[in-house]
Structure formats: structure tokens, C-alpha cells
């Protein structure tokens, strides 16, 4: 997996999967599949509601191992299976203000049965993106940044 800083307010994640893109697309749009992979290892996706049409909403409720709850929700802006999916996203708990909405663009290309996923997330503020830039440029700023850069280059 690679995380790179795009232009403007973007962060771009790329990752390859050993499966055709129709399956990867399905894994992003079918609740019973999403519930089996979405979220870090110590979180479970417990509610996954999807209204897969332009303007339709989606809502994920996640639970952490310490009983924490996180609600993500948004709506679908573009649906073009199996190549492209554009959604808005709001983290209900972290971003109480309505302007804290990011836009995620999922693009899938296929080559010899393998899929390259590109997930471009446009953040609501440029500051967040710039902080990522800072993490790459000023490694001496804090020890944690070295760890960050390392994490982002590997795995």
C-alpha cells in the first residue's frame, strides 16, 4: 500500500489486489461483504446501510474493542461499476461541523486478473493535507514523523 500526497487537499492511497475488479467493486458496495473487511483489526463494522444510487445515502457504525463507537456516513455522487465510485464522507463523531465532509473517489483498473485500487480522498481543509506534506519534508521535526514516513512507505 502506498499513501501519497496529491494536489490541493488530496491524499491518494494505492493498493493492488489479486482479484478482478468486479469483486473489489462488489466488496465496496455490498453490505454483507463490507462487514467482513472494512475497519482496522480491532474494530468491527456492526451496521452497514447502503442505498446504492446517485444521491443515495450510506451509513456505517463501527465498534472498537474498548466499546468505542464511530459513525461514518455520506452519499453516492457517482456509481460506475466496476470502475469508479465517488462518495461523500463525514465522520459524525470527529467532525461535528457540517463543512467537514471529504470526498472519496475509488478507481479500479484491471490487468491480467489483478486490480489496482486508487482511493483519492479530498479533505475538507488544506491544513490536513499540508500536515502530511510536512511529515515528508521535515523529518527532523519530531521522531514520530520518521515512524510515520516509514509506515507510509511499507506495508
Amino acid at each position: 500500500m502506498k499513501v501519497i500526497v496529491g494536489t490541493g487537499r488530496d491524499i491518494v492511497i494505492t493498493r493492488e489486489f489479486a482479484a478482478p475488479r468486479a469483486r473489489v467493486f462488489a466488496a465496496h458496495t455490498e453490505p454483507d461483504l463490507l462487514m467482513r473487511w472494512f475497519g482496522p483489526h480491532d474494530w468491527r463494522l456492526t451496521v452497514c446501510e447502503i442505498d446504492l444510487r446517485i444521491g443515495g445515502g450510506w451509513r456505517y457504525v463501527m465498534h472498537g474493542s474498548q466499546g468505542q463507537e464511530m459513525v461514518l456516513r455520506g452519499s453516492y455522487l457517482e456509481i460506475d461499476p466496476p470502475a469508479r465510485l465517488v462518495t461523500t464522507e463525514t465522520n459524525v463523531d470527529c467532525h461535528a461541523r457540517a463543512d467537514h465532509e471529504s470526498i472519496a473517489t475509488l478507481e479500479l483498473t484491471e490487468n491480467a486478473g489483478r486490480t489496482t485500487l486508487t482511493n483519492t480522498i479530498r479533505f475538507p481543509t488544506r491544513e490536513i493535507r499540508d500536515a502530511v506534506v510536512a511529515s515528508g519534508m521535515d523529518r527532523g521535526v519530531a521522531q514520530g514523523y520518521d515512524r510515520l514516513a516509514h509506515t507510509m512507505e511499507t506495508s
Binding site: 473487511w37 500536515a131 509506515t151 506495508s155
Partner: protein, 105 residues
């Protein structure tokens, strides 16, 4: 949490302020020390320092003459942690997606 991060990220958005932090990572410095490499006046540097101070990224010493500036590690750690968590979120999710894709017919 988000309000603190907003202040941190806003302070980090400026290249001069990032360079000041990079310099302070090597040890405390006076405003005069900090102004020298940037070809900026001391008042201009002081303005940047106020933003960094408000974000809690630096603090000023009590020595009335020098008032040395030093780096405060905690807000930077919180900002870095946010990004590490963000990366981890996707890295771990995609690992599970690998396994799921193997199982799908």
C-alpha cells in the same frame, strides 16, 4: 481533539513555521537565532512564533532577556498519531479485503 488538531495542522501549513520547528527539533533557540537563516525580521519571526505558541507547538522560556523558544512534543505527537491511525485504518482494512477476495467465488 479535533479542535486541537485543527490548530496544529493550521500552524503546520506554513513552510516557514515548519522550518522553525525543524530548527527547534535540534534544540532551543532565541528569536534572533531563528530569524538569521530565514532572512526575515525578528517581528516577522515573532508573528510565526505566536501562531506556533497558540497551537501549543512551542513554548517560551522565562529568561526575560532571551526568552528561548523550545519545541513542545505533545501536539506534534497527536497530529502524527492521527496520520498513523489513518494509514493503519486502510492498511488493516485492505489486508482483510485480501482474505475476503480469496474466499469469493
Amino acid at each position: 481533539m479535533t479542535a486541537v488538531l485543527d490548530a496544529t495542522f493550521a500552524a503546520l501549513a506554513d513552510p516557514t513555521r515548519r522550518a522553525i520547528l525543524a530548527r527547534l527539533a535540534r534544540g532551543e533557540a532565541s528569536v534572533k537565532d531563528l530569524a538569521a537563516p530565514f532572512d526575515m525580521t525578528q517581528p516577522a519571526i515573532s508573528k510565526h512564533l505566536k501562531v506556533l505558541e497558540r497551537a501549543g507547538l512551542v513554548s517560551r522560556g522565562r529568561d526575560a532577556q532571551r526568552r528561548p523558544v523550545r519545541l513542545e512534543a505533545e501536539p506534534m505527537r497527536a497530529a502524527t498519531q492521527w496520520l498513523v491511525t489513518y494509514h493503519q485504518f486502510w492498511a488493516e482494512s485492505y489486508e482483510r479485503l485480501d482474505s475476503l477476495l480469496e474466499e469469493l467465488p
